[in-house]
């Protein structure tokens, strides 16, 4: 049900009109390459980088922090440097800041103005993170949002929401779950989800019955 404004220089934007938009994006890319504004090889490299990004890198940072208190302090002081220490790509942001969940404090991250997100370490942001309802309510009703995501904080836990309005990218170090004390770093990393590092989930250790 889109309205086409023929005076408007842009293509009509219509829900579900993916083939038209896809064609337009491709045409733009070819035009810019043809004009020598960008190089095809650079575009390919960017795509390769984008598809290489997953939350596994962020999970490695968290797992290391859980088992190594001195690394955790370095991570909290400068997450960008801590990522480089583990051979990870922290991405183009000049500052990455890790914030730690404790028994007293739970953190949650949003970008109300657009979609800023530590994607080098977490992969591309999920659609809901970029959505208008999340961008609206993560700041005004974060406890309601957490309830929707299935997180119920203990009664005395302070909730801190971080709105990424500038060049700093935020990563949540979730609480290490009870029952994980005997787990290796590698197994711990598998417990750390993307959503936990955004702050809308909490890692859970497998129950004894489900462990080999």
């Amino acid at each position: 049900m889109s309205e086409h404004d023929h005076d408007h220089p842009h293509a009509p934007i219509a829900d579900g009109d993916e083939p038209a938009t896809a064609a337009r994006a491709r045409a733009l890319a070819e035009l810019l390459i043809f004009k020598g504004v960008v190089r095809r090889e650079d575009v390919r490299q960017m795509i390769d980088w984008l598809v290489s990004r997953t939350a596994a890198d962020g999970a490695r940072l968290v797992a290391r922090a859980w088992v190594d208190p001195e690394f955790k302090q370095r991570l909290l002081a400068d997450a960008r440097a801590a990522a480089l220490e583990l051979g990870l790509d922290p991405g183009p942001s000049p500052v990455v800041m890790a914030v730690e969940n404790t028994q007293a404090v739970h953190h949650m991250v949003v970008c109300t103005l657009c979609s800023c997100y530590p994607r080098a370490l977490l992969g591309p942001p999920p659609d809901w993170y970029k959505s208008l309802p999340y961008r609206s309510r993560a700041v005004s009703d974060p406890r309601g949002v957490l309830t929707e995501f299935g997180v119920e904080l203990d009664g005395d836990v302070e909730l801190r929401v971080l709105d990424s309005t500038a060049d700093i990218r935020y990563l949540v170090i979730p609480l290490r779950p009870p029952g994980s004390e005997e787990m290796t770093e590698q197994l711990l990393a598998a417990l750390v989800t993307r959503d936990a590092m955004i702050g809308v989930a909490q890692p859970v250790a497998p129950t004894p019955a489900s462990v080999q």
């Binding site: 700041v139 302070e158 909730l159 500038a166």
Partner: protein
């Protein structure tokens, strides 16, 4: 950097035509400096094709949620934080 950690600051409520990164819900609110990030290129000028220099001081500023939202549902000590440039901040009275 003009402000120190723990200082209370008032976020300017001025209208700003053009690109800026101070969210509307924080304009006119009072917060506390949580962290001084140092200086960064200015998105307000960089958005118009300049290099965004000189770099501008940037702070992580924290606010009590109950002071930001009249109908906030949560704990009295819940907080919201945003990264704000110094030129949007004034010492709060």
């Amino acid at each position: 950097m003009r402000f120190g950690v723990g200082e209370r600051v008032l976020i300017a409520a001025r209208a700003h035509e053009g690109h800026h990164r101070t969210p509307g819900y924080l304009k006119g609110k009072v917060g506390t400096i949580e962290h001084a990030h140092g200086a960064f290129t200015n998105p307000e000028t960089r958005a118009y094709g300049t290099d965004g220099l000189p770099e501008q001081p940037l702070y992580l500023v924290g606010f009590l949620q109950r002071e930001v939202w009249p109908e906030y549902r949560g704990r009295a000590d819940d907080r919201i934080y945003a990264d704000l440039f110094e030129h949007w901040l004034a010492k709060a009275r």
